[in-house]
């Protein structure tokens, strides 16, 4: 089985997000970067699929040269191959991102054969466009369902995929080759082993330089969201505050 997982490098903000002076990016001077959370789980799922069914997993990202770090992290967990679609400057809009990824996938598949399963995160943590995976799947003519929290390969080229709904679970039975947008909670990602970390330093990261036109959505500026204002009322310190807390619960009518 050939599995491709597409990831995005995103800042890992703590309690507050600061915006750069030009308003076009978040100030990452003091931030670490990580793989967007849904995609961390997509990487884990790709590795598990290959462990269960054999084959090989590949990780792909469109991003700055520094996204090499996220590709090697995936490699340290068991992904065999890595491909970077390098861009310079600000994030690309979703249409442009998807067109670049679809083109790169076609190139990878013409060299090594089709991917049975392509995984995306449901949406990126930062821009949250909710569309790149769908656009790529449509471009490749393959089925896609988003929000997936369970994948089971049942043989005869069918994948059963589960997604949560308001009232329970929905089940889809999709023919491969298939594209799935996965959500955090599908699995608990492993930590890399020392051997994995060492091995990931040695892999060769392939490069496909994307060359596609911008789409119709253009970011103008970023703004801080309205903070909740008002001081915090301190009800007390330690267990002695219990009476004040219960007074509050009574006042709010939740007791």
């Amino acid at each position: 089985m050939r599995v491709l997982v597409c990831v995005k490098r995103v800042p890992a903000p703590g309690a507050k997000i600061n915006i750069t002076a030009d308003g076009l990016a978040i100030d990452t001077a003091y931030l670490a970067f990580t793989t967007s959370p849904h995609e961390e789980c997509a990487v884990e799922e790709a590795v598990r699929l290959v462990e269960q069914h054999g084959g090989e997993a590949t990780v792909l990202t469109l991003g700055p040269a520094e996204a090499d770090e996220q590709l090697r992290y995936a490699a340290s967990l068991g992904v065999a191959k890595a491909v970077l679609l390098p861009i310079v400057g600000a994030d690309w809009d979703p249409q442009r991102t998807a067109a670049a990824i679809a083109t790169a996938i076609a190139e990878l598949e013409s060299a090594d054969g089709p991917f049975d399963i392509i995984l995306f995160g449901n949406e990126s943590a930062d821009s949250g466009g909710f569309q790149v995976g769908v656009r790529v799947a449509r471009s490749l003519g393959r089925p896609i369902v988003n929000g997936i929290k369970g994948i089971e390969v049942v043989g005869d080229g069918t994948v059963r995929a589960r997604r949560e709904s308001e009232v329970g679970l929905e089940v889809y039975a999709l023919p491969t080759p298939v594209v799935l947008g996965v959500k955090e909670g599908i699995n608990l990602p492993r930590y890399p082993t020392l051997k994995g970390r060492l091995g990931s330093k040695k892999i060769e990261v392939g490069q496909i330089v994307p060359d596609v036109a911008a789409g119709g959505q253009r970011m103008v500026t970023l703004l801080p969201a309205a903070e909740q204002v008002g001081a915090t009322t301190i009800l007390g310190h330690g267990p002695d505050a219990a009476a004040a807390v219960v007074d509050l619960l009574e006042e709010l009518g939740v007791l």
Partner: protein
């Protein structure tokens, strides 16, 4: 020109966010058409008319008997192709965002997800449509806003939940039937089975949530939180650090990539209040933080705080509740 609203429903039960989309659509001053997919939604006409739909388009096809993102996407895209609305507005939910992503892909149009507001007062082109629209949308699950420009012949947008308050605008809607041309392959991504959840209080609907973070320290140490939650008729939630440590299941996670909660009160115990967690908790009516660190972000953002060790404070609260109940 008209505005098309995609009605989100599950086998005939309308999603309330649809009324927010209709309310947003009305503000644009063009006739609002609402499209329902599948015969199960035929009964929604009166509700849609009450929220301002002038025309309800009822799409009928065997492959629309249940939800399927590809069948829904192609149906809406075909109707857009026939009628060229100036905008298509859908719900900023799993389904709404998914369907409009398909429509955008099929028609090669940009799609802007999770909008808070849009300003269409820009220069009008010859077709009468404002281009571009100035849009404010949410990023990082709502902790950061983005202003962007959307240039397209038909604007595709979803409204983030609660961005506008749904209001009624009583009227009579005419209905028209639409028969999309769908192929057997559209059926490959239609729901084939369902597992209904057992009835009861869920994290998303609980009136009280007792949340635990890294400060709880172990899976076993959640027992006092469980006890307090059950005394209050609520449920236990947790932060991403807790699920990443394997202490609790992801279904209990409150946050951007977990569940968004909106209880009457959220008791956040030993939770620092990272962005990831905060955006899942910020819709709570009141927040009480229990934390040893008076400088913790959760303490700063909460309405109330107790400065102290949750391992002592939580059992003390439970004991006080029992004492008053037995008094």
């Amino acid at each position: 020109m008209s505005i098309l609203v995609v009605v989100e429903h599950d086998r005939g039960t309308v999603a309330p966010a649809t009324f927010e989309a209709l309310t947003a659509a009305r503000s644009l001053g063009e006739p609002v058409h609402a499209i329902t997919l599948g015969a199960s939604a035929d009964g929604l006409v009166d509700q849609l008319a009450a929220h301002g739909a002038a025309v309800v388009v009822q799409a009928h096809h065997d492959l629309l008997a249940d939800y399927g993102p590809e069948a829904w996407g192609d149906t809406v895209a075909q109707y857009v192709g026939h009628t060229s609305p100036s905008a298509v507005i859908a719900t900023g939910t799993d389904r709404g965002n998914e369907v409009l992503a398909h429509v955008g892909a099929i028609l090669d149009l940009p799609f802007v997800a999770n909008c808070l507001s849009f300003d269409t007062a820009g220069a009008f082109d010859t077709a009468g449509a404002a281009d571009p629209w100035q849009i404010t949308r949410v990023r990082w699950g709502g902790s950061l806003l983005e202003q962007c420009e959307l240039s397209a012949t038909t604007k595709l947008v979803t409204m983030t939940h609660h961005a506008v308050e749904a209001t009624e605008s009583p009227g009579i809607a005419s209905t028209e039937s639409f028969a999309p041309s769908l192929e057997p392959w559209h059926g490959r991504s239609v729901v084939v089975d369902r597992v209904e959840r057992a009835a009861g209080v869920t994290l998303a609907t609980a009136p009280v949530v007792v949340g635990g973070g890294r400060g709880v320290g172990s899976p076993e140490a959640f027992a006092p939180l469980e006890d307090l939650a059950s005394l209050l008729g609520g449920v236990v939630g947790c932060s991403r650090a807790v699920t990443n440590n394997g202490w609790r299941n992801h279904t209990d996670q409150v946050g951007q990539t977990g569940t968004r909660i909106a209880p009457d009160i959220y008791l956040a115990c030993g939770i620092s209040g990272a962005i990831q967690h905060w955006v899942g908790a910020m819709a709570s009516k009141k927040i009480l933080a229990i934390n040893t660190d008076p400088e913790a972000n959760m303490v700063a953002k909460a309405d109330y705080a107790v400065i102290g060790d949750l391992h002592q404070v939580v059992p003390a609260i439970a004991a006080e509740i029992r004492r008053r109940r037995n008094a």
